[in-house]
């Protein structure tokens, strides 16, 4: 199984609004390669329409992320302890490797 990223096709040297719009989500999510990200950044610097679209998408994502639940520390502490015991004592009878 490959974990390599399969993302949108590379952008042309001077992408238009339509082409930028197609990759804007990946750009804002930090999923775009550095070369394409640079092209989008350059486009946004001079395109007011795409800037507005970009800010709006960011605001939607920010609103969604505010719904992110906090995690209790206790389960993570217990899981850390589990790993420590596993490393110290080795696995007891349990599931085989996936």
């Amino acid at each position: 199984m490959s974990f390599r990223r399969r993302l949108p096709l590379p952008l042309p040297p001077e992408p238009d609004c339509h082409e930028v719009g197609a990759v804007l989500q990946a750009y804002l999510d930090g999923e775009l390669g550095p070369q394409d990200a640079e092209l989008v950044t350059a486009h946004l610097a001079h395109c007011e329409r795409c800037q507005i679209e970009s800010v709006t998408v960011e605001r939607v994502v920010e609103a969604i992320r505010q719904q992110r639940p906090d995690l209790d520390a206790e389960p993570i502490d217990r899981l850390t302890g589990f790993v420590d015991r596993l490393m110290r004592d080795g696995p007891k009878d349990g599931p085989k490797a996936s």
């Binding site: 974990f3 719904q67 995690l71 349990g94 996936s98």
Partner: protein, 207 residues
């Protein structure tokens, strides 16, 4: 100790969108035991594993048990792991472990399972009545309702990418769909949320 500390990275070194280090190819270091290496790779991923497990499991204790089970499997299979993309590797094991469990129960759809644990309008998000729903209630109901109105597959991808901060590829591994499907679902889901937020006045429309 953070992942990768003290381990020379040979190639494929990356950072995710939060700026966290994602291990690339890691060479075997003679003075590190297998246990040291496992610990260093896995401990930084416990939180994200538990977050995702909470989406899959019906109760919080079951989520914790699921992570433990997955960690055991990961440890047993660690010698076959190439050291790259540790999070994606662990998430795949978590998902497979979950599938093995539910196979004996009923033929659930993973999207539905993940979505069930998201806040829903007027309904408890979890069967065990824990504080997650109460926490969500503190936030703007317009956003909560917009999320609750999405289809299960759309809510699942929003949960994994926007709330649990998985990469597209990691979310694809968990749900078991191509990464392009994650991207298109995410786009459509956010679009629907956006339209609702504009309609309810949460988001002003700049045109």
């Amino acid at each position: 100790m953070p992942a990768g500390v003290g381990l020379p990275v040979v190639g494929g070194d990356q950072h995710d969108r939060s700026g966290r280090h994602v291990s690339g190819s890691v060479s075997r270091v003679a003075n590190k035991t297998r246990e040291d290496r496992f610990r260093e790779q896995v401990l930084p991923e416990l939180e994200v594993l538990y977050r995702v497990a909470r989406r899959l499991a019906r109760t919080l204790p079951e989520a914790e048990d699921l992570v433990q089970d997955a960690l055991l499997r990961a440890y047993r299979g660690f010698d076959g792991f190439d050291g790259r993309y540790v999070r994606a590797w662990l998430l795949t094991i978590l998902r497979n472990t979950h599938y093995n469990r539910i196979r004996k129960r009923q033929p659930d759809f993973l999207d539905d399972e993940i979505a069930q644990r998201l806040p829903a309008r007027g309904a408890a998000g979890r069967q065990d009545g824990t504080s997650e729903q109460a926490f969500h209630d503190e936030f703007d109901p317009r956003v909560r309702d917009a999320l609750a109105s999405l289809s299960a597959s759309h809510r699942a991808v929003i949960a994994l990418v926007d709330l649990d901060e998985l990469s597209y590829q990691e979310a694809a591994e968990v749900i078991g769909v191509p990464v392009g499907t994650v991207m298109s679902r995410l786009h459509r889901a956010r679009r629907k949320v956006r339209v609702q937020l504009e309609q309810t006045g949460f988001l002003e429309v700049d045109r």
